[in-house]
């Protein structure tokens, strides 16, 4: 179906975009990062693992869905039935597939009532994606958009990932919670973790302003900083109605996302 490279010779990467608090911009970062990779010619799969508040189905206006990620984790369908090819919507040489969480109230209720044994099997199925998608189907990147905090689905995503990208803000309670998660969650699972500081208020025209923010973040978390995204009114005004890096490629936000994608690609090739 999507074959490109020979089995076994592929070195793809799984990333989980996570945060302590909700509303830090995980989904926005996930969508735009995935699009940046596609623009660079990569084969990407973006998965909505936020089963409590699914958003990708609405964002991409996909209604007729054959199988949801819920079904894959339930063991009632294979992953190739879940993935939807939306490459035609992106201007780039790569490919973009999405795996959606079922946004119906019934499905959300059902997912929140799963027991530990089900969660254990769900972890097994997420771990299987490394073979079925990275090795067999030669995907370059799987991006898991997760739910915030310590939820089963998000910790399963973290355990399955090679890299955890933490979307954080300077909100005080978010800073304290993120610090705790760095030591009490990501470190325990020995995960490579990078931070993206989102919606930061600083003068983007001043280089020293950016350096000061970078210093502040490093002192705060002692964790590598993947990117600093200023608070842009244009992004807020877009109201999540389009893919920003696609529609406004010359905007500073898009350039920052491109740089973040480049950094990840460089670290992947080392």
């Amino acid at each position: 179906m999507w074959k490109r490279k020979t089995k076994g010779d592929h070195l793809g990467k799984i990333m989980a975009v996570h945060s302590y608090k909700g509303g830090t911009g995980k989904t926005h970062i996930s969508i735009n990062l995935a699009t940046s990779f596609v623009k660079h010619g990569k084969k990407v799969c973006l998965m909505d693992l936020d089963f409590r508040a699914p958003s990708l189905a609405t964002f991409f206006s996909l209604e007729k869905v054959e199988c949801w990620l819920n079904d894959y984790l339930n063991g009632t369908c294979k992953i190739d039935k879940v993935l939807i090819d939306i490459s035609h919507r992106i201007n780039g040489d790569g490919k973009l597939f999405v795996g959606l969480a079922n946004p119906s109230t019934e499905a959300i209720r059902e997912m929140s009532a799963k027991d530990r044994k089900w969660e254990m099997r769900a972890l097994g199925r997420l771990l299987d994606l490394r073979n079925s998608l990275l090795n067999d189907e030669a995907f370059d990147y799987l991006i898991f958009d997760t739910s915030p905090g310590l939820q089963y689905s998000s910790i399963n995503a973290i355990v399955s990932a090679d890299l955890v990208i933490v979307a954080a803000t300077f909100d005080r309670s978010d800073v304290e919670g993120t610090k705790r998660m760095l030591h009490e969650l990501y470190d325990l699972f020995e995960k490579k973790t990078d931070i993206i500081l989102n919606r930061v208020l600083y003068d983007v025209s001043s280089k020293s302003g950016k350096n000061n923010v970078e210093k502040k973040i490093k002192g705060m978390y002692q964790t590598p900083v993947l990117g600093i995204i200023p608070c842009f009114c244009d992004v807020a005004r877009a109201e999540g109605s389009f893919i920003f890096v696609q529609e406004k490629p010359d905007h500073l936000f898009s350039k920052i996302m491109d740089e973040i994608a480049n950094r990840i690609e460089r670290s992947n090739s080392v």
Binding site: M120, G124, L127, I155, N156, L188
Partner: protein
């Protein structure tokens, strides 16, 4: 044919003892030593827990919250088995960069705790979380 019993109850032929198959004999000895080692590890673990019987604790799913609450050394082993799906102590040791005997001890401990299952096939013991068709 003349046979004798080793310390561990395995039959070895006279010819084997006379050196026609010395490698095979050594392999058998190694295999038996490994089995003995595993049994001792289980006995030590049971003694620690003050139990005399070897009945794994039933229904202890290896979910992420359980992984989080485990001591670091066991979590590393358990996560490696989760990633590999099914593995021997040797294969786990290759991933964790710890000694095979150390991993064997941790794996058996996880079996006793009810988090892993163990299946012996020939000389090799395989550890896994659960079979797909179970429960």
């Amino acid at each position: 044919m003349y046979t004798c019993k080793t310390l561990w109850g395995t039959s070895v032929t006279k010819q084997e003892f006379l050196g026609r198959k010395p490698l095979r004999v050594l392999e058998k000895i190694k295999e038996n030593l490994e089995k003995l080692n595993e049994k001792m590890e289980i006995m030590i673990e049971l003694q620690k827990r003050g139990r005399k019987d070897f009945q794994p604790l039933a229904d202890a799913p290896l979910d992420v919250m359980t992984l989080l609450s485990m001591p670091d050394h066991l979590r590393k082993t358990a996560m490696t088995v989760c990633r590999l799906g099914r593995a021997t102590a040797e294969e786990v040791a290759q991933q964790t960069h710890r000694a095979r005997a150390v991993e064997s001890g941790y794996l058996n401990q996880l079996v006793i705790m009810g988090h892993l299952e163990k299946e012996r096939k020939g000389r090799k013991a395989y550890f896994y979380v659960e079979k797909e068709d179970q429960g």
